[in-house]
């Protein structure tokens, strides 16, 4: 009995495929030869053909209403909700890149200004941290030890506002702290020089400085910045001597030639304000870009 059912199923499968024109030419020829002789098989085929024709003739049922989507219907997983992500994904690297470029430009300008002969007093506080480390390395400057002490809070403060995005490239850190140094220093030429030696005058100018710097958490940038100077033998010593000042140490080495200005700083001759404006502007731009890129990365 099951064998007979199987056989019937097999025949039905052939007939069904025949109706659809899905038999191979050989199978088709065999079936047609059998159909010519077998009236039952022809009846079977006919009933199947009619069944198929009936189903194919079923009238289409139109939608009883419109199925238009509303924003509320698709809100939970709507592409609209996803859209900011790809945008931010593209925006974040671009902003980080812009931050780095802006920071590098700022450094270039800063270094250019620092190397300008005749520059002195106003920026004395700026090179201080750099000189501090440099003097540790070089035997000469004894006075530098004083500046080094002063440099500590300064350099700790350096990356304060930076708070670079965890995902941002280490390059941006090296650039940004440098810029920070300057962005904090820029007001000093305006409000009054803050030369390291003139503690009395600096007292007024120094007061707002540390207050800005204290909240800093230089740990993050330091951790990421460290790999860069590793080839140099000094970092361990610096770390021992200057503790958290390491981030500033990186630019310090690069700006080695700034040691001569220390001597000139004893006779402060403020550089024209105009030459500091681009640096300050770039520093500000870098800061804004850094904040924006942090937000862009976090948005992901």
């Amino acid at each position: 009995m099951p064998g007979k059912n199987r056989g019937r199923e097999r025949v039905d499968e052939w007939l069904s495929a025949y109706i659809d024109g899905a038999l191979s030419p050989r199978e088709r020829a065999r079936l047609e030869a059998r159909l010519a002789q077998d009236a039952d098989l022809r009846a079977r085929l006919e009933s199947l053909q009619r069944t198929v024709a009936l189903v194919r003739g079923l009238p289409p049922v139109p939608a009883p209403r419109n199925f238009l989507l509303t924003p509320a219907m698709v809100h939970p997983l709507a592409p609209v909700a996803h859209r900011p992500a790809p945008k931010a994904r593209r925006l974040a690297p671009a902003l980080t890149f812009a931050t780095v470029i802006s920071g590098l430009l700022c450094i270039v300008l800063l270094v250019g200004n620092l190397l300008t002969p005749g520059w002195g007093g106003p920026g004395a506080a700026a090179p201080a941290p750099m000189i501090a480390y440099e003097t540790e390395g070089s035997p000469e400057a004894g006075q530098a030890e004083e500046t080094a002490k002063r440099a500590l809070p300064l350099s700790e403060a350096v990356p304060t506002e930076t708070a670079p995005p965890a995902s941002a490239a280490a390059v941006s850190e090296t650039a940004v702290p440098e810029m920070r140094v300057w962005s904090e220093e820029t007001p000093s030429p305006l409000e009054g020089p803050f030369p390291p030696e003139m503690g009395g005058i600096g007292g007024g100018g120094a007061a707002p400085g540390p207050s800005l710097r204290e909240p800093g958490e230089p740990e993050e940038p330091e951790a990421e910045a460290l790999p860069i100077p590793t080839p140099e033998p000094q970092p361990p010593e610096r770390a021992a001597a200057a503790g958290e000042a390491t981030p500033a140490a990186i630019p310090a080495v690069e700006v080695t030639p700034t040691s001569p200005p220390v001597e000139t700083s004893e006779a402060p001759t403020p550089l024209p304000l105009a030459s500091w404006l681009p640096v300050g502007g770039l520093a500000l731009l870098t800061a804004v870009l850094a904040v924006l890129s942090v937000r862009a990365w976090r948005a992901q």
Partner: protein, 203 residues
Amino acid sequence: MSAGRHLDEGHLVAAAQRGDLDAFNELVLAYQDRVYNLAYRILGDPAAAEDATQETFIAAYQHLSTFRGGSFLSWLMRTVAHRCYDELRRHKRRPAVSWESFGEMDEEANPFLVNGHPTPEEAAQQAELTRFLQSAIVTLPPDQRVVLVLSDVEGMNYQEIADTVGIPVGTVKSRLARARARLRDLLQARGELLPRAYRLEEE
């Protein structure tokens, strides 16, 4: 006309992929009848077909990013077929429609069905036959039902059905044959209906 429509479809799909809900809704208006019809023929229940249709469009919009070109309608049909199949399997334990309830199913008694038929008698006969057929389709096992509707209602070939359902062509062939044979047996069991249907066919 079909070429222009295809071009529109591509633009609308691209716009919808960018989050343009209005563009997507134009696609909804263009294809809702086809999607609903497939859902209704597989599920045999207007309310369930409505739910399946709405869910299909929502899911399609939310997963538009996975649409990799080709025919958007085919993609929609695949989506709704899967949804209906899942729905049928979910309610597998629910008792199948009995023959006794056939006369009570009047969702086909819709004015549009009568359109194009010259006499009320013929219209009534056709509506009765249509109702009967749909009720018979609903008694098929889900796997056979989906294949039968995709083949004989949607007009897909074996390969398209295999792609849509995700089964080999050979399986499509055998499921379709079993579905048709079973339907034929059901129709023959209602001998009084089938000869009348044949007469309608032949006239």
